[in-house]
Amino acid sequence: MGWQAVDWQAVGVSIRLALATTAILFVIAIPLAAWLAFSRRRWTVIVEAVVALPLVLPPTVLGYYVLVALGSGSPFGRWWRDTTGTTLAFSFTGLLIASVIYSLPFAVQPLLASFAGVDGRLLEASAVLGKSWGQSLVRVVLPLSRAGLATAGVLTFAHTVGEFGVVLMVGGNIAGETRTVSVSVYDAVQSFDYATAGLTSLLLLVFSLVVLSATYAFQRRGSLLWAPR
């Protein structure tokens, strides 16, 4: 067994999926986390807890519910089918929806912790200088939350790469479309092909090591500039 046994197509799907999930989650999670961090309304606590819920459901179970929600049995699934003529389940789009739901807490939680740590006086300074909420978020909170952004990105990306319970359930393991590298490693293990499983895992490890090191190095370099002396 050698490198040709590695399912490169699945590697490609995984990377596409992880990148897309991370990108979408940044768009969703940043405003959500900012609202949770800075709003004083009491029921933010409830929302925070709801956001954390995908964590406690076993992936297969979550996957099952997503599958049912996307399926022709659900109003949403029927509507989608009638409008687009395609099914969401067993498609890359469906997988993406599931991944976004599943990884939401991994993006929101670190951002929340990080945003909450930004010195409130800097937000006051920004407000007095005429900046709206959103402008302050972009120009003050985000740059000062680089550690949190890096953590959120890394957790989301890595978690999406490693996820296979939901993917298996919603994706249907279709080569080139919904077979991710984690599913292919799982399949290899299931068929006792430990050599390929090991090799692919190694590949995942090295790849992640490079991505993570780069992310952290970037984040660290930046932070040194205003690090406590």
Binding site: L122, E124, A125, S126, A127, V128, S132, V140, P143, L225
Partner: protein
């Protein structure tokens, strides 16, 4: 001004009448006529609290803040947020953005504009604040004083409707402060931006203010032109904060043809009858006698005759304290009394602790204030 659009009247007065925390104060700022109002008071008086409310950083508990006809805050449902008030604010603890360099900090509040004019405004503001050439510097690497000046530049750069400066010159060394003090006044007047400056430094208050507001323990004790407030503090507490060097409780013995005779401690003192008092003085009334160290003269020869209209009190020197620009001499003249001498004078008098001297105070230099705030 965003949501705060004036309707019907051209007069642009910023009025504040609030209760918040320890503060229960009323204050008017005329934004039509640029000038500097100094909010002067000791530590913990509530100065920062007041300008935070003005800037929209704190919501008041009750009362109102209005700009012309526009209600900014009524402690209830109405609240114009900070970003719509177009005020320039210098934070006491600066609050510079640590992730931006100096130029980016100063340019932060500027609206969209071409790069070149933006650059020009930033350079201008930095030059005004006497930190030119600091554009590319990192905030963490500024010294305390440099950071202060950068924060000042940041507040000024967007040309706000009103400047709120919380201790703008604290933390600077003397020559820089001296230079910036007149520079700041010139700059504010030149820019035509009315300013409310918070300070606890007397020289600063005097040098900067067109109008002085004395805040003590959350309450406004006196308002007026700085010279008037410093010369004629309304009560003993104001006298203390404006630096009357001697403040002693006294009792009116008699009132007579434009003068007042008082008993101060063991001594008897005559003062001009103050024409500007709210109510006439009566014998037996308790007041505070206030003297400025620079108005008190000393004679080494206790037997010599006093000039006309001058109190002459025999006294003993109890302390001589050398300060940078003058000498502070403490004497006991029946009550403790402080006198300032130049070195020149001290040398001529040849005083030491325990020397017997004659204290000379002109009647018009004896200021009478209320013992307690009215």
């Amino acid at each position: 001004m965003g949501a705060a659009v004036s309707v019907g009247t051209a007069s642009k007065a910023l009025r504040l009448d609030i209760r918040h925390r320890r503060v229960r104060a009323r204050l008017d700022l005329d934004l039509e006529h640029p000038g500097i109002t100094v909010l002067f008071g000791p530590s913990g008086a509530g100065k920062t609290t007041i300008i935070r409310c003005l800037a929209g950083l704190d919501r008041i508990s009750s009362g109102t803040i209005t700009l012309g006809p526009t209600l900014w805050d009524d402690g209830g449902r109405t609240f114009v947020p900070a970003r719509r008030r177009n005020v320039g604010y210098l934070f006491q603890d600066l609050a510079l953005f640590p992730h931006l360099n100096v130029a980016e900090n100063v340019g932060y509040g500027l609206k969209r504009m071409p790069r070149a004019s933006r650059q020009a405004i930033i350079d201008d503001a930095l030059r005004t604040a006497e930190v030119p050439g600091f554009q590319e510097r990192i905030v963490a690497e500024l010294s305390g004083g440099e950071a202060q000046r950068v924060a000042l530049a940041r507040a000024i750069a967007p040309r706000p409707d009103v400047l709120l400066l919380d201790e703008p010159l604290a933390g600077l060394d003397d020559p820089t402060r001296l230079r910036l003090r007149s520079e700041l006044r010139r700059l504010i007047l030149h820019a035509g931006i009315p300013a409310l400056v918070v300070t606890h430094d007397r020289d600063e208050a005097l040098a900067l203010a067109d109008q002085l507001v004395v805040l003590i323990d959350g309450a406004v004790h006196q308002t007026g032109p700085p010279a008037e407030v410093f010369d004629r503090p309304a009560d003993a507490m104001v006298a203390r904060v404006v630096g009357m060097d001697t403040i002693s409780p006294a009792r009116v013995v008699s009132v007579d043809r434009g003068t007042v005779r008082l008993r101060v401690g063991e001594a008897s003192v005559v003062a001009d009858l103050p024409s500007w008092r709210r109510h006439p003085l009566a014998a037996g009334e308790a007041v505070a006698v206030c003297l400025r160290g620079g108005d008190v003269g000393l004679r080494a020869d206790p037997g010599s005759a006093a000039p006309p209209d001058t109190n002459s009190l025999p006294a003993v020197v109890t302390g001589i304290i050398e300060e940078a620009s003058l000498i502070r001499v403490q004497v006991d003249a029946g009550f403790p009394l402080v006198c300032f001498l130049t070195r020149r004078e001290l040398q001529a008098l040849g005083l030491t602790g325990g020397s017997r001297v004659l204290v000379l105070v002109h009647r018009r230099s004896v200021h009478l204030a209320e013992l307690a705030p009215q």
